[in-house]
Chain length 298, copies 2
Amino acid sequence: MRLGIDIGGTKTDAVAVDGQGSVAQRVRLSTGFGQAEVVETAVTAVTRIGELTGLAAAGFDTIGIGIPGMVDRSSGRVAHAVNLGLDRVELGDLLAGRLGRGVRLENDVNAAALGAYHVLGLRGSMAYLNLGTGMAAGIVVNGSLWRGATGIAGEIGHLPVDPAGELCRCGQRGCLETMASGSAVARHWPTDDPLPVRALFAAAAAGDPEALAVSAVLAEGIASAVRVLVLTVDVDAVVIGGGLSHLGEPLLAQVREVLERWSRTSPFLASLQLPRRVRLVPEGTPVAALGAALVGEN
Amino acid sequence: MRLGIDIGGTKTDAVAVDGQGSVAQRVRLSTGFGQAEVVETAVTAVTRIGELTGLAAAGFDTIGIGIPGMVDRSSGRVAHAVNLGLDRVELGDLLAGRLGRGVRLENDVNAAALGAYHVLGLRGSMAYLNLGTGMAAGIVVNGSLWRGATGIAGEIGHLPVDPAGELCRCGQRGCLETMASGSAVARHWPTDDPLPVRALFAAAAAGDPEALAVSAVLAEGIASAVRVLVLTVDVDAVVIGGGLSHLGEPLLAQVREVLERWSRTSPFLASLQLPRRVRLVPEGTPVAALGAALVGEN
């Protein structure tokens, strides 16, 4: 049995994965803020999954943890996990001390990429396009993560596509993330609705011109990200996940519309069959926790 | 001994490569136009290298051919090699018939990528950014070509980066190729000089405002390509080659200046150390022919 934990900004998701790669047990917790609380959250997740499976921490084949920020997998150090209140924390050592065994750390988007690849039963190459607060992609080739030379492969949210675009938090202008991300939607369409993208699409469906414009920019940004991933890595599939993806089919349909519109004026793009390559991560599947359990197997 | 042939739009370069991966013999020919002439050029190259090495076609361990266009490596079919007057030609079969043995075909940019990786003694990952008539990249990971799911990995010349940019021959607007390629320079700075980019940079150095503007767009386009390759694949090195690269250090210096300017306003970009990753292919080295000889080894 393997154990995977996805530590998110508000929720932590933990799963026990059996030898067939299926989720045997699942636990959800609120994530604490700051170093001590994050460590406590992870330890609690291990304890709770342990109660459900009858296994102590030492009894799992592997324990993997997906977490936002810059993750140094060899040292177990986590930096820039702003939403968790963590920066330059030796999380691997801290958890090993508490659990009495080693754990494997991985960036959460990479973990989700691995989980999505597995859940969808994919072969060949895939990019997992995460639309959360920001935008980033995880790349899987023949079942293994492609992390790149310095661990920043797939950071496409900070590729500029419009010199006249918005200033991005990264200091550049017109980045894909300024068009298509949770923070972009929050800026372009402020609302108190707990599901801002759903509210946006509902307003657009009702004919609100501003909502139509904002959702068009969102779809264009996602479509641009798909194009970037295919024209560079040439992945078989681009799987859309993250908070914005909960909108489901209406979002996918609008992204495909953009890709089809582009194909009508570019035989080159048409030949790439972009609409066929893009799909959604299955709703309700804990891909990041599952992927965290699989980290190190590949 | 291995034999590699790079069939270019005007010149064909052939090399015999010894067991240490060094160029033992080299021959240069003019390339004929059209199916029969291209086949004849390749056969002549094999004959001439054979005279220099004392080997018949059957005596080489492998014969590899780099050629522009869409290359189906398994069938040996070549399509869209516009500058050679070839489209949907069973070049592999035609050459096998003439030479009495099989040959390996590869897209010329991919072959050059493999050759550059080898010549520079690189490890890890590299992108070879070819600035010829168009712009395209070849990606090498741990010594092997990454061709992608459908053979279009690295086609970054057709990534749009400006919605208000020029219309590209691919049907999109503001593609990188419209900023940084031989065709872009020819459009933006028409000249009868046999080395248009050298003339452009000379005029810019003399203070010509139009030349300054055109060379700035060129450098910006190349720098953007470097950024795309690092933020997607996260390659250790981006090696600039192709016709425009003959300009050498002045071109590289201007590209690095753009990357350094960007880094000053973006701590994120600064952390990627883009100026350090970019370099030039060694002048005068037949990287494409050498790479063609190595195709199939990796």
